[in-house]
Symmetry: C2
Subunit: 217 residues, 2 copies
């Protein structure tokens, strides 16, 4: 499928697998490995090799019949595909314990995510620096988002404050929200929301564990 | 589908939606709402009402023709379904910035997750208390997991340390791992792994944002 401007639409399950390939490839690169087959990737990650080939096709990389994919080229192709080879400047909203951890999470640089400011409504937090990032009053977000041309914000506030913060973000022209607040947020159709609530992932885990324990009884 | 012991197998997409229903229902309860229809839930969360009815059926709750579902009963049913109405004791492995945030994240109590100890291999961290939880040397994990009958561990270590930590967990009889380490981990077939890497979620977001920006050009 293509968008109006001939940009390939990559299915979400593929997008979620690409970082796994990337982690493996970066590891292989460090070990001096030059080329890799889709079968090797599939075995290492417990996937089907046809699936791996399909996923990799989306990155526009072509493997060679016997040697497989060039590791460096594939790393580059995945990073380009995910837009991780350049920095996307982002705001963090909610400088609590999760927000603080986010600001200090060095790995985000590998994923092209660069926090330039944090926002909170707690006067005690405003003016502080967390991992070198200044905490500003949430009122200032709309103006700064426009001035600094920020399109992406990470939401790490409690459920009750979430929608109010989202409305402030929207005023500033934020078009992509990574939502860690344990609640659903309402946005216009053109705004991208990626829900990353711990509760969703934990639900799968605790249910499976509970079923596993019951089968042992 | 039923397991050998007649336990209903709930599809993963349903499991991931149940926490959203729960957040909404807890909100309604606080506002004094007594009953709710699947259409209302669907509208609030931007879902299809047939989907909501199907999902709710897995919790064994039956709605009434005109009034819909009793809010309290549905909350209870979802919590029971996810095993969130009792505490599951868990270990945290990796007391870095993400691990520290996890230990301080109060919301986990609502999801039945109760950290009883944290582990690290850094001598400077061992012996410290983080949010009231003691950090112990990783070597002690296997014995303590068996003594304390711990089955669930949350992995928040860097990629390079992940597999070594997993092998130590497995020695202690851990059967469910919530993996935040930015790498794939290898476990025997019967061990439950829920990958919750930020990179997967972020991949979807950065790709969509990049496509959105390209369509604007």
């Amino acid at each position: 499928m293509l968008t109006k401007k001939n940009i390939v639409v990559i299915p979400e399950p593929t997008l979620r697998r690409l970082p796994h390939y990337l982690h493996l490839l970066l590891n292989l690169k460090e070990q001096g490995v030059k080329s890799v087959s889709s079968t090797f990737i599939a075995n290492e990650l417990g996937l089907d090799s046809t699936q791996v080939r399909k996923d990799v096709q989306y990155t526009n990389i072509i493997g060679k019949p016997k040697t497989g994919f060039d590791v460096n080229s594939l790393i580059n192709a995945i990073q380009t595909c995910l837009n991780w080879n350049r920095y996307e400047n982002a705001f963090l909203v909610g400088a609590g314990s999760l927000g603080t951890a986010m600001l200090g999470y060095k790995q985000f640089k590998d994923y092209g995510l660069n926090f330039v400011a944090a926002f909170d409504n707690d006067p005690e937090k405003v003016g502080q620096k967390i991992h070198g990032i200044e905490v500003l009053s949430i009122d200032r977000l709309p103006v700064l988002a426009q001035l600094m041309k920020i399109h992406l914000a990470v939401l790490t506030v409690p459920a009750k404050a979430a929608q109010e913060c989202v409305d402030i973000m929207l005023k500033g022209g934020i078009v992509a929200i990574w939502n860690f607040a344990p609640t659903q947020i309402k946005v216009p159709k053109n705004v991208i929301v990626e829900n990353a609530q711990f509760s969703q992932s934990l639900a799968v885990l605790t249910r499976k564990l509970s079923v596993y324990k019951q089968t042992l009884l």
